[in-house]
C-alpha cells in the first residue's frame, strides 16, 4: 500500500477548499470501506484522504413525517436501520442497508459513500432512486441539488466536479398507501455483491387495488444503476395484477444492458431483471397491503 496524506476537515467550506486545491489526487474519506480497500489493492491513486466524519451536515439524520428524510452522506448503515421511524417510512432503503457487506461493514459504511463509490452493483442506489431521493452537493459555487438517478455517470464515476462533495441525501416524505422494497440476487445468502439488484416503490389507491404510481430501480445491469422510467410509467393507473407486473418487468428487462463477468452472464442478468422486478413490485405491494 503506497503512502498517502490524511487530513480531517471540520466544515463544509474547509472540505470544499481542500478538494478544490488537491483536485484529482484527493478523495473524501467517510467509512472507508471501499476507499481503503481500493488504495490497498492499487485500484485507485490517492495522495490525500480528506476525512469528513466530523462535519455536522454529513452526519445529519433527520426524519420528519411531513418533510421527509435528510440523510447525511457519512451516516453509517447501522444508524439508519436502528431508527424505527425511518424503517417504517422507507423499508426499501432498509432492505439495502441490511445487506451491504456484513454487520461489521454496516458499522462503518455509509449510504452516501455507496452512492459516491458509483458501483453499478451498489445496493444503496436503486432504493434511493425509487424513493425519489435527491443529492445535495456542495462546491466552490455553493450548493446544488440533483436527482439520485443522475448522479452516477459510469462505473466509479459521478457528476461531482472539482471541489464538489456530496453533503446529504433528501428523501421525500412517503405518500399514504405507499411502500418500497429492494432485493438482489446473489448465489449465496449473504456477504456477496449483487448479480442483479432491483428496487421498487408503489403508491396504491385507498382500496389498495390500483397502482397510482410506481418507480423501479435496477443495479448491476448497466454501467450505472438505472431508473426504469418506462417500466415504472406503465404501471400508473393499472390494477394490481400479474399481467401488469409482468409487463413492467418486461419493460425493465428491455433497458438492461448487462455484461458477462465473474459474477454472472449477460443472459442470466437479463433474465434476473424480470424475476427481481416482479419480486420487488410484489414485495412493495404486499407491504402496502400489510400496513394498517
Amino acid at each position: 500500500m503506497r503512502d498517502f496524506s490524511y487530513i480531517a476537515a471540520n466544515t463544509i467550506p474547509e472540505a470544499v477548499a481542500l478538494l478544490d486545491e488537491k483536485g484529482e489526487s484527493a478523495r473524501i474519506l467517510a467509512g472507508g470501506t471501499d476507499l481503503i480497500v481500493q488504495v490497498r489493492e492499487a485500484r485507485r491513486d490517492v495522495d490525500w484522504m480528506i476525512d469528513v466524519k466530523s462535519i455536522p451536515e454529513v452526519n445529519a439524520l433527520d426524519y420528519n413525517i411531513a418533510t421527509g428524510l435528510t440523510l447525511g452522506a457519512a451516516v453509517e448503515c447501522y444508524k439508519i436501520y436502528a431508527d424505527d421511524a425511518i424503517c417504517n417510512a422507507y423499508p426499501g432503503l432498509i432492505d439495502a442497508t441490511k445487506i451491504i457487506g456484513g454487520t461489521a461493514i454496516q458499522g462503518r459504511a455509509a449510504v452516501g459513500g455507496n452512492l459516491c463509490n458509483a458501483s453499478p452493483a451498489a445496493d444503496g442506489i436503486p432504493p434511493l432512486i425509487v424513493l425519489n431521493a435527491s443529492c445535495v452537493i456542495a462546491g466552490p459555487n455553493g450548493l446544488r441539488e440533483l436527482p439520485v438517478e443522475q448522479f452516477c455517470t459510469a462505473p466509479g464515476q459521478t457528476v461531482l466536479e472539482k471541489g464538489e462533495m456530496l453533503v446529504s441525501l433528501k428523501v421525500p416524505a412517503p405518500k399514504s398507501n405507499s411502500s418500497s422494497f429492494y432485493l438482489r440476487f446473489i448465489p449465496r445468502n449473504e456477504m456477496d455483491i449483487a448479480v442483479v439488484g432491483a428496487g421498487a416503490s408503489v403508491v396504491l389507491d385507498d382500496a389498495k387495488q390500483t397502482i397510482v404510481s410506481a418507480r423501479i430501480g435496477l443495479a448491476a445491469v448497466a454501467p450505472t444503476p438505472l431508473f426504469a422510467e418506462e417500466a415504472s410509467a406503465l404501471l400508473a393507473g393499472q390494477e394490481v395484477s400479474d399481467a401488469a407486473i409482468d409487463e413492467a418487468a418486461a419493460a425493465a428487462q428491455a433497458i438492461a444492458r448487462p455484461i458477462s463477468d465473474m459474477r454472472g452472464t449477460a443472459e442470466q442478468r437479463t433474465h434476473l431483471v424480470g424475476v427481481l422486478t416482479r419480486r420487488a413490485l410484489n414485495g412493495a405491494i404486499e407491504r402496502v397491503r400489510e400496513a394498517t
Binding site: R188, R263, E267, H271
Partner: protein
C-alpha cells in the same frame, strides 16, 4: 490385534490441549513471527498465463531505497532434469524449481518470477513494480480436452506421454496415461439390462484455507538455515528446500508454526525457498507473506477434470460392468491426482468387470496440489451420478442399489488391492435407517439425493517421544502439525495405554531437529499413524516402568502387572504403586524414563462415507439451498468423537461449496477473474444447515484401537449427492460443476 473395547479415555471428549490459546488469539501463527532486523519479502508474479521470459532487469528495483536484495531463478542452483523423491512420490526437480521461481517460461498467471526483500512490505511491493520483465506472450491452453488436442500449444517442449511403461516420441501436454482393468468389461456390458453412459465436467477449486502461506527464513553465521512457517509437514519442507537449494538437510531446521488450515494445500513449498534465498542474499532474516490473490493464483488448487462414466446393471440392480475415463488438469507441471481418482472411482462397489483410463494433462493454470481425498471427489461425481440414474431406471431405491453392490472384505478393487475389513455396507445401512432418509420430502422444488464415497487413507512414517514427568504427567513430543485436533487424538491414545487422563498429557508439535522423522499431516494419516507411534511410545514407557517397579520391589518383571493406572506385584509380595507415585521415584530407580515409538504402518484401512441431502431449487433464479444434510461415515474407532464430527462436517461443507459455486473463472487470456473470497464463492455459515454427522465404527484391524483416517472421505460424496437431489427436485441432471445458478438456468432452459 485390536485391544479391548472397554476404553477409559478413547471415545471421550476432553477439551483440546491447544484450544484455549487458539480461541483467545494467543496461538502463534507464521505471520505473527517477529525477529530483530527482520526484512520483508514480496514476490513478483507473471501477468501472463503463458509466455517465454526474454529478460529480467532488476536494477531499478535494487536502486530503490530500502531494498536489500532481489532474487530470480538465477539465484537457484542449477536444476538439471532430475527426479527427487520427497516422501510423497517422485518429483521432477526442474519442475519443482521452476514452480518456485520461473526460469525460462511462465506457465500461469501468478507464476513467481522474482522476489524482493526490503525494510518494510510496502517498499518491497513497490520494488516489484520496478522489475522489468520482457515476455514473448504465447497462446494459453486452459482446458483439459483442448490441451489433449494434437495441435494444442505445448507447455513443455520436452514432455512426452508415458503410457503403461512406454514413452511416446513426440512432445505432448499429456504427461501420462494409466489404466486399470479387471475381468472382461465387454462381456460385462453385454450381460447388462440397462447401460448408462454420461460425461462430466468439473471446475478448478481451491482448498480455501483461511491462513495464507507464510515463511520466515534465517541463516546463522555457521550456515544453519532455519525456516518458521505454516505447513502440513515440517520434514517435507526440509526435503523440498534441501533439493531446491541443494543444501544438506542436516543444515536445515524447519519450525512449524500453528496452521490455519491446509486441506492438502500446504504440502508443496512456494515461498519457503524464496525466503531462504532472500535471507542468504541479504544476510538478514526475511519474512514472506502471501495475500489472498497470491494464494489463489500462485498456489495449487485441485484440478478441473473431464470424466466419462459408463455402467451397466441387470434388472435386479447388480452392476455387471463399469468403465471410467478420467482426464485431469495437472496445471503447469505434471502430477495431477488422476491416480487416486482412478483408484477410488468404483471402489465402493464389488464389480467383476472394470476398465479405468486416466490421463494427467498439463494446462496453463497453477500446478495442482492435493485437496482432501485428491481426485476422488471428481471421480465420484461421475460414478455416483450414473449409479443414481441406473437405480432410477430400474426403480430401485438408491441406497438399496448400494447395498446390492457394496464392497465387502475380500473383494478386489479394480486397481488391484483386496479390501480388508471395511465398513461401506454399514454406512449405507445407517443412512437408510436415519430419520432424515425416512422423513417425507414431497414439497415442490424440494429434492433428496444420496451418494457414497471412498478414500484409501495412508500410513507412512511417524515418530513420538514421551518424556515422563515426576508428577505423573507426560510430555508427548510429535512431528505432526495439528490441523484438526490431532494433539488431542494422539495424546488420548498414549493416555489410554498409561491409564492417565488426557489432561495429564502435554503434547508438543516440534521442529525437525527435535523429533524423529514424521511424514506430512495428510492422507488422513495423523490420528492413525502418529497415534500408532504414540501408542508404541506409551507401551515403551509402560515396559520401562514395569522394570522400575520390579526393581523397587526386588521382584521379577514378569511378576509386575499394570492395570487401571496401578502397578502391582503378583505371585507372592503384596505391593502396589500408582503410575503417579512411581514417577516420583525415578531418581532412586535408575533416572528419567523416556519412551519412544516409530512406525511405518501398512494397514491404514480405507474409509467410506454415505451422504443424504435435501435441497430446494428456486426455479426462477437457479439458486440451490441446502435444507438438510446427513453425513454417515465409518471412522473405525472415533478417538475423540467431536473432532471426527468436525472433520465430517468440514468435508461435507467444502463439498457443498465445490458442488454449488466454487470455481476458478478464467477470461480468454487465462487470467483468473475471481481471485478473492468475495468472488470465489465459498459457502458461509448462512448458506448451510447444521451438518448431521453420524459415526459408524467398524474397527480397522491395522491399528491397535481400530482407527481409520477420517479427514478426507467426507468431501467425496457431496457433489453427486447434491446433483442427485437437484434432479429429484426439478428433473434435470446436472453434469457440470459447479451447479451455479446460471448453469442451472441454462439446464432448465430458462436462458
Amino acid at each position: 490385534m485390536l485391544e479391548n473395547k472397554d476404553y477409559k479415555v478413547i471415545g471421550t471428549r476432553p477439551i483440546r490441549h491447544d484450544g484455549v490459546d487458539k480461541v483467545t488469539g494467543r496461538a502463534l501463527y507464521g505471520a505473527d513471527f517477529q525477529m530483530a532486523g527482520l526484512l520483508h519479502g514480496r514476490v513478483l508474479r507473471s501477468p501472463h498465463a503463458h509466455a517465454k521470459i526474454i529478460s529480467i532487469d532488476t536494477s531499478r528495483a535494487e536502486a530503490l531505497p530500502g531494498v536489500k536484495g532481489v532474487v530470480t531463478a538465477k539465484d537457484l542452483p542449477g536444476a538439471e532434469d532430475r527426479i527427487a523423491d520427497l516422501g510423497e512420490g517422485a518429483v521432477n526437480l526442474k519442475h519443482l524449481c521452476d514452480n518456485v521461481l520461473a526460469s525460462d517460461k511462465v506457465l500461469y498467471k501468478g507464476h513467481a518470477i522474482a522476489a524482493v526483500a526490503a525494510t518494510n512490505p510496502h517498499i518491497a511491493e513497490e520494488a516489484c513494480t520496478l522489475i522489468d520483465v520482457e515476455y514473448e506472450v504465447l497462446p494459453p491452453v486452459l482446458e483439459v480436452r483442448q490441451a489433449m488436442e494434437p495441435d494444442a500449444p505445448l507447455l513443455h517442449e520436452t514432455l512426452k506421454t508415458t503410457s503403461m511403461g512406454e514413452t511416446a516420441d513426440e512432445p505432448s501436454n499429456v504427461a501420462s496415461h494409466i489404466q486399470h482393468k479387471l475381468g472382461d468389461p465387454e462381456k460385462g456390458f453385454a450381460e447388462a439390462d440397462v447401460i448408462i453412459e454420461r460425461e462430466f465436467v468439473t471446475g478448478t477449486v481451491h482448498q480455501g484455507y483461511i491462513e495464507p502461506h507464510n515463511a520466515t527464513a534465517h541463516y546463522n553465521q555457521d550456515g544453519q538455515l532455519t525456516i518458521w512457517c505454516s505447513t502440513q509437514g515440517a520434514f517435507t519442507v526440509r526435503e523440498q528446500v534441501a533439493e531446491i537449494l541443494q543444501y544438506p538437510i542436516s543444515k536445515i531446521k524447519v519450525v512449524p508454526m500453528e496452521i490455519g488450515g491446509g486441506f492438502g494445500g500446504k504440502i508443496s513449498v512456494y515461498i519457503k525457498p524464496v525466503a531462504a534465498l532472500l535471507a542468504k542474499k541479504t544476510g538478514k532474516p526475511v519474512k514472506v507473506l502471501m495475500n489472498r490473490a497470491d494464494v489463489f493464483e500462485g498456489t495449487g488448487p485441485t484440478p478441473a477434470s473431464f470424466i466419462r462414466v459408463k455402467m451397466g446393471a441387470t434388472k435386479e440392480g447388480k452392476i455387471t460392468a463399469a468403465q471410467g475415463y478420467l482426464a485431469f488438469e495437472a496445471g503447469a507441471y505434471p502430477g495431477s491426482p488422476v491416480g487416486p481418482g482412478a483408484m477410488c472411482i468404483f471402489a465402493p462397489y464389488s464389480i467383476e468387470n472394470v476398465i479405468i483410463d486416466g490421463y494427467d494433462v498439463v494446462v496453463n493454470k497453477p500446478k495442482t496440489a492435493p485437496y482432501r481425498a485428491p481426485g476422488a471427489p471428481n471421480a465420484a461425481f461421475g460414478s455416483e451420478t450414473v449409479l443414481d440414474e441406473i437405480a432410477e431406471k430400474l426403480g430401485i431405491d438408491p441406497l438399496e442399489i448400494r447395498l446390492i453392490n457394496g464392497a465387502k472384505e475380500g473383494d478386489r478393487r479394480a486397481d488391484g488391492p483386496v479390501h480388508p475389513r471395511i465398513g461401506f455396507i454399514e454406512t449405507v445401512e445407517a443412512a437408510k435407517a436415519h430419520p432424515h432418509y425416512t422423513a417425507p420430502n414431497g414439497k415442490k422444488h424440494h429434492g433428496r439425493g444420496v451418494a457414497s464415497g471412498y478414500w484409501f487413507n495412508i500410513g507412512l512414517e511417524s515418530s513420538v517421544t514421551i518424556n515422563v514427568n515426576s508428577d505423573g504427567t507426560i510430555n508427548l513430543i510429535e512431528g505432526s502439525t495439528d490441523i484438526g485436533g490431532t494433539r488431542a487424538s494422539i495424546a488420548m491414545q498414549a493416555a489410554e495405554v498409561l491409564g492417565i487422563p488426557a489432561e495429564s498429557v502435554n503434547p508438543s508439535v516440534v521442529d525437525t531437529n527435535s523429533v524423529g522423522y514424521t511424514a506430512v499431516t495428510g492422507g488422513s494419516r495423523t490420528t492413525y499413524a502418529t497415534g500408532y507411534a504414540a501408542y508404541e511410545a506409551a507401551q515403551d514407557v509402560k515396559r520401562q516402568m514395569i522394570a522400575r517397579a520390579a526393581k523397587l520391589w526386588e521382584v521379577d518383571e514378569a511378576n509386575v502387572q499394570f492395570a487401571d493406572g496401578e502397578f502391582s506385584s503378583i505371585n507372592g509380595k503384596e505391593e502396589q504403586i500408582s503410575f503417579r507415585d512411581l514417577c516420583a521415584r525415578f531418581g532412586e530407580t535408575g533416572g528419567p524414563v523416556v519412551g519412544s515409538g516409530t512406525v511405518n504402518p501398512g494397514g491404514a484401512g480405507g474409509a467410506y462415507a454415505t451422504h443424504v441431502v435435501d435441497v430446494e431449487v428456486d426455479e426462477e433464479t437457479g439458486k440451490v439451498d441446502i435444507l438438510r444434510y446427513t453425513a454417515v461415515q465409518d471412522a473405525g474407532k472415533a478417538i475423540h468423537p467431536s473432532y471426527v464430527e468436525g472433520q465430517i462436517q468440514g468435508g461435507a461443507v467444502q463439498g457443498i461449496g465445490w458442488a454449488l459455486n466454487e470455481e476458478y473463472i478464467y477470461n480468454a487470456e487465462g487470467e483468473m477473474t475471481n481471485a478473492s473470497f468475495l468472488d470465489y464463492r465459498m459457502p458461509t455459515c448462512l448458506d448451510l444447515p447444521m451438518i448431521d454427522a453420524v459415526i459408524v465404527e467398524v474397527p480397522n484391524p491395522g491399528h491397535p484401537y481400530g482407527v481409520r483416517g477420517v479427514g478426507e472421505v467426507p468431501i467425496v460424496p457431496p457433489m453427486a449427492a447434491i446433483a442427485n437431489a437437484v434432479y429429484d427436485a426439478i428433473g434435470v441432471r446436472m453434469t457440470e460443476l459447479p451447479m451455479s445458478p446460471d448453469r442451472l438456468l441454462k439446464a432448465m432452459g430458462k436462458i
